[in-house]
Symmetry: C2
Amino acid sequence: MNKLVVVKIGGNIIDDDEKLAAFLETFARIDGPKILVHGGGKLATRMAEDLGIRQEMVDGRRITDKDTLKIVTMVYAGTINKTIVSGLQAAGCAALGLTGADGNALLAHKRVSAGTDYGFVGDIDRVNTDLLQSLLHLGLTLVVAPITHDGHGQLLNTNADTIAQELATSLGRSYETSLVYSFEKAGVLLDAADDSTVIPRLTPASFRQLRETGAIYAGMLPKLQNAFIALDSGVRQVIIGKAESLSELIAGTAGTTLTHD
Amino acid sequence: MNKLVVVKIGGNIIDDDEKLAAFLETFARIDGPKILVHGGGKLATRMAEDLGIRQEMVDGRRITDKDTLKIVTMVYAGTINKTIVSGLQAAGCAALGLTGADGNALLAHKRVSAGTDYGFVGDIDRVNTDLLQSLLHLGLTLVVAPITHDGHGQLLNTNADTIAQELATSLGRSYETSLVYSFEKAGVLLDAADDSTVIPRLTPASFRQLRETGAIYAGMLPKLQNAFIALDSGVRQVIIGKAESLSELIAGTAGTTLTHD
């Protein structure tokens, strides 16, 4: 099976021009088929402020009302996606930007959640793996913005971590897939405040052990649980670490690598 | 040779939700490979106003400074492109949005013009016909935003009419291509104020004649000259008329059709 790398980059890299350029240089050099999923960063929040649009938050989640959807569509699919695509092209990488609406790549439905209306937030129903494979076969590197659609003309805001996971698991049937979550920490840490306490490897068994002893800090647990679900769903390995160390993460010399055994 | 239709829609349709939805329904029903190139409409100007960014104009052309480039990228590649793509998907059309940076579809250089600095405006150097044909072969309908790039990471603002013409002429070597310019008038008119004076057919010879007698109003001449250049460069026919009459334009029962003879 061919290898595929799915990398998710978060806001801290996107908000920093120099770091982003360095990251894209490294990402462009990854051999073979690859997909980059980007989050939004602070740009959408800043844009909402500049336009005088109030951001409503419930339980730490942004409510995507009509105005907020307009902003995230502009900023994620416009500014950020095209900045990354043109940056990758400059680094010699044949990048093509996508939202879930493009080629019906990610079909979703508006979240229905008892009690809370999150607005125009989409939960993914279907990944169009045929299309994505065809595009990858053309030698294209896909750059995916965290916007999906419902197939009836409604765009929806969707979490970038979730998109990366859905892409990796769906394509995991056709590729030996590595899913890389890059974030601000060096990996899964024993001490949240100390980057030198990275756990280099985790399996379901060692994770269970560490969790029982309370050695892994609580903020990390949901991300890890999702990562193990991805492993159970056909992803070969999940790698968690700093975006600045992307090549080391992929080589397995930095960050935390989660595997089945 | 397979047929290809390249349609350019202007701002008046984009600014009107109902008209746009009706247009997309009709466009979705066009058989075979097709490309939709969209302009910007008033949304970018309104967004600049909302953000307090002054738009500089020289000789009726907008100067694309750094802030303006940010806005047109957001609005054209984000809002408008994704609204159209999701609308076409809803109408059963497998649409995929592109800027010139995506897949290096349209490589351009920053315009250098003695006397005037137009800012980040791109003149097209190369159309990536291989990529576009590959995407069309996948059954995708391409929706192109008027943004190009220079291959070195710089996005550029490029006229949508020009993009439509460049796409039609480049793909004219592989497809029997019709180029449709939709705008606010019913076609090329003998009396600019009277939509019933549409000239149904024009050839280079009849155009010369009408121009010599001053029968065609001056505002139409540059568009027509460009259209005849497109015909000379391998486009089979150019059709000019109202977006609301798209199916009649393509059937040849409305608007003005320009052919070689």
